[in-house]
């Protein structure tokens, strides 16, 4: 247990370092922007009516101070780091002067929920199917599944998502294609609301799963074809251990270990997929917020979403690292 705590502590330090570095990169990139957030706000404000130059000047001064842009860049950076600890990214432009973090917090649970469910589902289904396909190499059904996976995997995600909209929203309209939950449901911790959320997440989650599953399937199949040559598999076969038991407890179970590491490494990429999902399905979440923020020139929100994404992905990796010893007993005592 002590060894585990030490391991966890090491990982935690690494987590902090990753967050620090990732957020710094996001800060630097976002501050390369030619569009000053102050001018963007003035643009939005004065675009809606005519403004006197004096009013604009005073607004500019107020905003510059509010955004902390009246100090040199390195000081802005230190301020940014200081405020990062309390998740303070300054006022958003999209909903000025509401803090950008509030917008993020409104969007985060949606992305978090959709991603957690679809990622776990994708990972488990893809790995189990791929594992079986790797072990039962003569099964026709599993072979066919492999061909489907190879063919499905490269279709651009946007196309898959949009096809689902067309198929289940248009040709055979059985599932909701927009929004996070039904309009006649009151948001609360009630069965109706949860059911509605699940109902509305079917298509987005299914599209993410369909696209993601192929990679895991193929990866797992390749892994398993190496693992079946391991001695403990041969030994189990000679020992008369049941085929399914070997497939699950010996082959797939062992292949899960590297696949778990892969999962940690692809989480950042999975986040990209949700941006399109949210666009196509009008699903609320960080992706939609990010696109709106970028298009609206809202650098505070853009930075907030990027940093939260870094923090979320890094934390997910941290959690996976902590779970790793549970899946692989060999790591536990190291």
């Amino acid at each position: 247990m002590k060894a585990y705590l030490l391991f966890a502590l090491k990982r935690f330090i690494q987590l902090l370092a990753v967050i620090f570095a990732g957020c710094s990169i996001a800060f630097v990139v976002s501050h390369l922007s030619p569009i000053s957030p102050v001018e963007s706000i003035i643009g939005r404000v004065s675009g809606q009516s005519s403004y006197s130059p004096e009013a604009i000047a005073s607004l500019r001064a107020t905003l510059t101070e509010l955004f902390g842009l009246n100090v040199p860049l390195h000081e802005q950076y230190f301020n940014f780091l200081r405020r990062l600890v309390s998740f303070d990214f300054g006022p958003s432009l999209l909903a000025f002067p509401r803090p950008a973090m509030q917008l993020v917090m409104l969007a985060l649970p949606w992305t978090f929920g959709l991603l957690t469910v679809s990622t776990l589902l994708t990972w488990l289904l893809g790995n189990i199917a791929g594992g079986l396909a790797g072990y039962y190499q003569n099964s026709r059904a599993l072979k066919a599944l492999g061909i489907v996976a190879i063919g499905l995997q490269p279709i651009p995600y946007y196309i898959v998502a949009f096809l689902m909209v067309i198929i289940f929203g248009f040709l055979w309209p059985v599932l909701p294609i927009s929004g996070g939950f039904a309009m006649n449901v009151r948001p609360a911790f009630t069965p109706e609301f949860i059911f509605s959320i699940l109902h509305y997440s079917i298509l987005p989650a299914a599209s993410l799963t369909i696209v993601g599953i192929g990679t895991w399937f193929l990866g797992m199949r390749a892994l398993v074809s190496n693992i079946v040559t391991e001695d403990y598999v041969t030994f189990a076969e000679l020992g008369g251990v049941g085929r399914n038991r070997i497939a699950f407890s010996y082959v797939i179970r062992n292949a899960m270990v590297p696949q778990l590491t892969s999962l940690a490494m692809t989480l950042g990429g999975i986040f990209s997929g949700t941006i399109i999902t949210e666009q196509v399905f009008g699903y609320p979440g960080l992706g939609s917020l990010l696109v709106t923020a970028v298009n609206g020139g809202d650098s505070a929100t853009t930075l907030a979403v990027s940093c939260i994404a870094v923090i979320a992905v890094a934390s997910a990796i941290f959690i996976i690292d902590l779970v790793h010893p549970l899946i692989d007993p060999r790591v536990r005592t190291e």
Binding site: E39, S40, I41, I42, G43, R44, V45, S46, G47, Q48, S49, S50, Y51, S52, P53, I56, S58, L59, L93, L94, A95, F96, P97, R98, L103, L106, P109, F112, G113, T116, F162, V165, I166, G169, F170, P173, I177, S178, G179, G180, M183, N184, V185, R186, P187, A188, E192, F193, I197, V280, G282, P284, T292, V294, N295, G296, G297, V323, L326, I327
Partner: protein
């Protein structure tokens, strides 16, 4: 620790956390218990804005706070003194919404009086009085961050209320257009509920949730993510300014934000949307084909509703490249109107050669009468005199699209002029060349070079998508073919950034927007006065994005400020003067009206306005004027 148990626990925990977080995030959406919205009592409208970024904020008087505007708030809840419809209107295009009659100016236009209706109630039952108007004006002047603060401060010297139903403004200088601030053309200065706002310590930080309004609807519920807003008809709807035009039929109105064009179409075909704000041209054609109950403003081609807005090429007249009007004219003559119409709207464009949207009453006031002038118009290229106007363009576009759309394309000349426009400038590369040479440019191997020997090269900034994006791409291409190195560059929000900051050489957009239903041009032209033009590098206030000044322009504007708004003949005369100046100078290239593919579905509701039979209102539903449509609707019972 049991491994399996731990993992299951983790997964369940994550889900619970997400669900809890969602439930928590929704708390601020104060919604009533489970309600159903029977289709025959519910009208579902597409809100073209992306989902609101600050969903629980309804304080529209504060700029940039992310409150949604066209999510029903400014259509159904907020209200102000007058409305002018861009189309015919129910009883004429002027609506005395909260007033008993039109504005009343004194003789020299330095004072204006508005007489308010009696018995109009705010949605919380408090009576609307002159005090609310006074509060609105004074509060905004006192808070520079508020939307109408600057215009009020610029124009109003003082406001007083002789009684509860009379508002009297004293103006800082003569202005016959002052009432425009309280007159809706898609939007205007909305009246604030004094009794609500005066309790707030900081009116700018107030989220005004739930909104208290003068319109016939109140908030029922809204999506905490800002994608939909549901409004419910007030029981005392007859105590509103709008009651004069009848009872709005739907009990519930839902505004849904659906950014994706294709999904709007799908939702309408599925019967989950009654009114679409805009589609791609192709989407509109497909909808007309696939949904027998769906239709556009025109029953057939070109379907779209022409907004009184004039998409154009905006030259940055402060840029040395475009300071010679011969260059601006040469670029105009490099464009083929038929190609622009096809490239942008697939032929469903309404072209205009002059700086006036070819919509509403304008074609009768300006375009038609000016045809003789345009046909006779002569341009001196330096080498020759040409007559650049081609009056047959509208006819030729109709002929061009007829093979594809057949009977949907009108054959009657008047209808063609209404649908496709009258004429446009002829593409004439030779004349363009002569003009450029006269301006000191030289042609070297098909490429135009500036006097200093560098190529004539610039970028044309355009929208990231939609018809304006297509138009910009096509125009840049035509210029390239003409020997000018123009590249189209897309920018996400040209009106908020590039145009006001002057960060562009040429851009697609519009600086001309009119009432549509009235020949008066003050809506945009007042802001074109040279006193508003910013220095290079400084921010330009709306709407003279081209930063153009001309000795002939200011007198027109100044004269307009002292001409009675409803003196149509005088205003048309001023308008003609303006149009002719614009033809001579070509500071922007006027191209077409902004045609909006607004569609509606008659499956659940009928009685929508239509171009040919009953153009009583603008169907473009993000205009707050569109609220009058609700009084004319009837449920089909489906």
């Amino acid at each position: 620790m049991d491994r399996r148990g731990f993992m299951v626990g983790t997964a369940v925990g994550a889900l619970m956390l997400a669900a809890k977080g969602l439930a928590y995030g929704q708390d601020e959406a104060a919604t009533p218990p489970l309600t159903d919205f029977p289709r025959k009592e519910t009208l579902i409208i597409n809100n073209p804005e992306p989902p609101s970024t600050n969903p629980s904020n309804f304080n529209m008087w504060v700029a940039g706070n992310g409150a949604g505007w066209s999510n029903g708030l400014h259509q159904l809840v907020l209200d102000t003194l007058w409305f002018i419809d861009p189309d015919k209107g129910l009883k004429g295009s002027l609506y005395n919404e909260l007033t008993t009659g039109p504005w009343v100016y004194n003789a020299d236009f330095t004072e204006m009086t508005a007489n308010l209706k009696k018995g109009v109630l705010w949605s919380d039952g408090v009576e609307f009085t002159a005090a609310d108007v006074k509060y609105t004006v004074e509060t905004q002047i006192a808070n520079p961050g508020m939307v109408w603060s600057a215009p009020f401060a610029d124009a109003i010297d003082s406001i007083d209320t002789p009684d509860d139903y009379t508002v009297h403004f004293k103006l800082k200088k003569a202005n016959a257009r002052f009432h425009a601030l309280f007159t809706v053309r898609w939007n205007a200065a909305w009246i604030m509920p004094k009794h609500i706002f005066e309790k707030q310590a900081d009116v700018k930080a107030f989220d005004f949730n739930p909104p208290v309004g003068l319109g016939p609807y109140t908030l029922n519920s809204f999506d905490p993510n800002g994608a939909w807003y549901i409004w419910e008809k007030r029981a005392d709807w007859d105590k509103t300014g709008m009651a004069e035009w009848g009872e709005p039929a739907p009990k519930y109105v839902i505004y849904r934000s659906i950014p994706n064009n294709d999904k709007r179409l799908i939702e309408m075909v599925n019967g989950d949307l009654d009114m679409i704000h805009d589609l791609s041209p192709e989407g509109m054609f497909a909808l007309a084909k696939q949904d027998p109950t769906a239709r556009g403003w025109f029953p057939g081609f070109p379907y779209a509703h022409p907004d009184p807005t004039l998409p154009m090429v905006i030259f940055n007249n402060q840029n040395p490249l475009f300071q010679d009007k011969r260059v601006r004219w040469a670029l105009t003559l490099m464009l083929d109107p038929l190609e622009m119409s096809m490239a942008s709207y697939r032929g469903a464009a309404t072209l205009s050669a002059i700086a006036m949207p070819p919509t509403g009453t304008h074609t009768d006031d300006y375009h038609g009468p000016l045809q003789d002038y345009l046909v006779a118009y002569e341009l001196d290229t330096g080498k020759s005199k040409i007559k650049p106007y081609d009056a047959t363009v509208g006819q030729r576009i109709a002929d061009m699209v007829r093979p594809q759309f057949g009977d949907a394309v009108p054959t009657d000349e008047t209808a063609i002029h209404k649908s496709f426009g009258f004429g446009w400038w002829k593409k004439d590369l030779a004349a363009a060349g002569e003009l450029l040479e006269a301006a000191g440019l030289t042609n070297q191997g098909g490429q135009w070079m500036l006097a200093d020997g560098t190529p004539f090269k610039f970028t044309l900034k355009t929208f990231p998508d939609g018809v304006i994006n297509r138009l910009g791409t096509d125009i840049a291409q035509q210029w390239t073919q003409g020997g000018v190195q123009a590249t189209a560059e897309t920018v996400p929000n040209i009106f908020a950034n590039e145009l006001p900051l002057g960060d562009y050489e040429a851009g697609m957009g519009w600086s001309i927007e009119t009432w549509g239903g009235n020949p008066d041009l003050s809506f945009f032209l007042d802001s074109w006065h040279s006193s508003y033009v910013a220095k290079p590098g400084e921010r330009q206030t709306a709407r003279n994005w081209q930063r153009w000044t001309n000795p002939g322009l200011d007198p027109i504007i100044e004269k307009m400020r002292t001409t009675e708004f409803n003196d149509h003949a005088a205003n048309v005369a001023l308008g003609n003067e303006f149009i002719k100046l614009m033809v001579d100078e070509m500071p922007v290239i006027p191209i077409m009206s902004f045609n909006v593919f607004s569609a509606y579905d008659t499956r659940h509701w009928t009685g929508f306005p239509a171009a040919e039979s009953n153009p009583y209102a603008n169907i473009v539903n993000n205009w707050s004027n569109s609220k009058y449509i609700l009084t004319q609707l009837k449920p089909t019972g489906n």
